[in-house]
Chain length 454, copies 2
């Protein structure tokens, strides 16, 4: 390993120059104008994989942007790692808030500023460089690898999902390795082992068949907004518990070890509240903030609309009101079952004075990767070694739909070895990526392959 | 009177054409874009008053939209009638629910469809035409009249209120005549002797200082929409009672006679519910539907808005949510006191996790007018004569704030000779006005002047 780390350490500047080239390609997947750029970015990835020593590199056409695949499968009796990442980036608007042009990478204060720097070009690139270091020094890898890099992560990963479903054998592996999440903090080695799922519904309440005058009819007719408010108020208790019958039935309780792990992490409620401008946090009774956002289900109204919402006073008793309500789920909650329970509950509590319809808009399964999987333990050791600190295990509150697809279809543990930071403005102006983390990421990737192979 | 009624009867179609011209002016008082239209509508009224034979016609500038005044004061020793109406109309949204454009009047089935048809352009116009009929036939009026037509009824009548307060002598009169209410039913002559008051407020809930990702933060932060729903759900009990402490303290109980009168009026809950497309009515326990809408206070959300309200699913935990809430009041509730009680209550029930602001947008006193005033009896006789039926005395659920100002400042009985129908979609898409009532209204106005002068 000394040879390999020595090789990586001596090429710091070169890696940054290569990353700059990658970041110069404005591969915005959601904008049709950038279709050519998307192909350029895919070609860049394919070329770099080939240069690194990866075999069978190919661009796979889809209905959307191409996938890039490549593998090296000559480590007999050694595990196979599927490495996932994405070469597409978010749009850049509002452009005027950027301090430097989003596709002209600039280094300031040991950070590289550009769209895609941390999400996900910089993070994904570390694995190409670590693989290359093996080939250029010892001529082979200690494990088998399959690279699968997509161009539609920011727009829903639909082509990739279809590809995975149809190519389970091709993608067969012992672990999936992804760097597209965040470190717990700067310099803190971190593995994310859980993601929440999602059940997203829309409630529509219809009362009278037209908007009525609230003077003429007010007092004799149920009001869809009042009814909707009443329904929403019945979704959670004072203690922040979700009151839908059966909602918690499949929730796997947090283990003492997990709770202890979370409690050991530094946390200031004051600082957290201050960072989002609230006086006081509010969460389910009996749990900590990390547990609230990472490991317990939650329910939020995402939108509500009804009646007159312009300036001033219009005395209308509206015909309709609508709310979007979503629930973040944790293992083993099933988004389809939760949507069904939600619908049944709403049907039960809705008064007969109105019509209530509930539509299921979107769902995603939650995931928790086993902490005792060999790949996870290896990744944890690799990170600790490289960062010089004990690896932190955290979960994340959001959903990454494709992670669930990998986990469920390939039945392999997913190692989320994120080396970004939540503060690096992903999806916002002035996105950047810490170059120390970039370098430590390449080393961690290399050590992971080494440790995992033993 | 035969000459006069003959004149009116021969001009049916011309009156409708004139009304169409009036309805073509999109005089929406609450929208700043329509300022020019407001002046056009005021000019239209002024021109029609002059053409009718009214003297001293002038537009009176205000901080808002102009008032139109005109008089004819040459009926010596005869009573003076102040005729009030408004040329402003409600907004038209949701526009897609209109069968024909709101400002392109269309006649279907003897009804004229346009915004403002029944509220209040069509109703107000009958008095201009009845006055004109006197001048064009007998060259004079049997009573003295003062017209006072405003352009801010739908936004609170603030300028008119100020004007009345400062010009009590100019407006001195023996009775106020207003057509801006409803008949009990088609062809049923009706006088309205009571109106509910209004207290209209806006609740604004602010949580985090920006929209947050519901995955990253959901479960740890109070959600402004959920909080707002909770607040709204605490405004009424299951029995339909308003739960604001002190809310009912000043409510005068209905007399047995009034309750008996109301009970004597025909009513079918099934028909009423069917007419507005609901399966079941809902009102305060212990009262009838007429009592709910005419003589008991009520509370309705008029609008609500927060978060993402477009198509599909956006996983946002919104920064803000807003609701408009109004209460209909009955004597002797005071809108200022009610607004204060409302604000205090909201302040008490709002959680510390969010900021809640309550703005007082609008208020109006409730009123009940004496049934034994000479003007009221004359109006009742005129209506019975023209409609060929006994006049019904009812109260109405809406508010006409300025009626209270007239009643309190000018100390004159207010005759509410409404000729609209509650089913005519006032404040809703497809507002319309029955042209038979339009015609009978002109005749009733003329007979009222005649009978009242004797």
């Amino acid at each position: 390993m000394d040879k390999i780390t020595g090789y990586i350490n001596s090429r710091k500047e070169q890696y940054v120059e290569e990353l700059k080239d990658f970041l110069r390609i404005p591969s915005i997947s959601t904008l049709a104008d950038h279709k050519t750029d998307m192909r350029k970015a895919a070609d860049f990835v394919a070329a770099k994989l080939k240069e690194a020593g990866i075999q069978n590199v190919k661009k796979i056409e889809t209905k959307g942007h191409p996938l890039v695949y490549g593998d090296w499968l000559h480590a007999k009796n050694k595990p196979t790692v599927l490495i996932y990442g994405h070469y597409d980036v978010q749009p850049v608007d509002p452009l005027h808030l950027w301090d430097s042009p989003p596709f002209e990478p600039v280094i300031k204060d040991n950070k590289i500023y550009a769209r895609g720097a941390t999400d996900d070009k910089g993070q994904m690139y570390v694995h190409i460089k670590s693989v290359e270091a093996f080939f250029k020094t010892v001529g082979k890898l200690p494990v088998n690898v399959k690279f699968l890099i997509e161009g539609e992560e920011e727009i829903g990963s639909h082509s990739l999902e279809e590809f995975v479903n149809k190519n389970v054998d091709t993608l067969k592996c012992d672990a999936v390795l992804i760097s597209d999440t965040s470190l717990f903090g700067p310099g803190v080695p971190t593995l994310t082992y859980g993601l929440r799922g999602l059940s997203y519904l829309q409630i529509e309440v219809t009362g009278p068949n037209k908007d009525l005058h609230s003077g003429t009819f007010g007092g004799a007719v149920d009001n869809p907004i009042n009814v909707l408010a009443e329904i929403i108020s019945k979704l959670k208790s004072k203690d922040g518990k979700i009151t839908i019958p059966g909602f918690y039935d499949d929730v796997i309780k947090l283990t003492k070890k997990e709770r202890d792990n979370f409690k050991a992490l530094p946390f200031s409620a004051k600082q957290f509240a201050g960072s989002i401008g609230v006086r006081q946090l509010k969460g389910e009774k009996g749990y900590t903030t990390y547990e609230h956002t990472w490991a317990r289900p939650s329910l939020d109204c995402n939108g509500i609309l009804g009646g007159f919402t312009g300036d001033g006073a219009k005395t209308v008793l509206p015909s309709r009101a609508m709310a979007k309500v979503s629930m973040r789920l944790v293992p083993d909650q099933n988004p389809k079952k939760i949507a069904r329970l939600f619908k049944n509950y709403i049907k039960n509590i809705a008064p007969k004075t109105v019509n209530v319809e509930v539509k299921d808009l979107h769902g995603a399964y939650p995931i928790v990767s086993p902490l005792d999987a060999k790949a996870t333990i290896s990744a944890s050791e690799a990170l600790s070694k490289v960062f010089g600190k004990k690896t932190v295990f955290m979960r994340e509150g959001g959903s990454i739909p494709i992670v669930v697809v990998f986990s469920r279809k390939l039945k392999a543990p997913v190692v989320m070895m994120g080396i970004g930071l939540n503060s690096e403005n992903l999806h916002s102006p002035n996105e950047h990526f810490n170059l120390t983390h970039f370098h430590l990421g390449i080393l961690s990737s290399a050590h992971f392959f080494d440790i995992y192979s033993k």
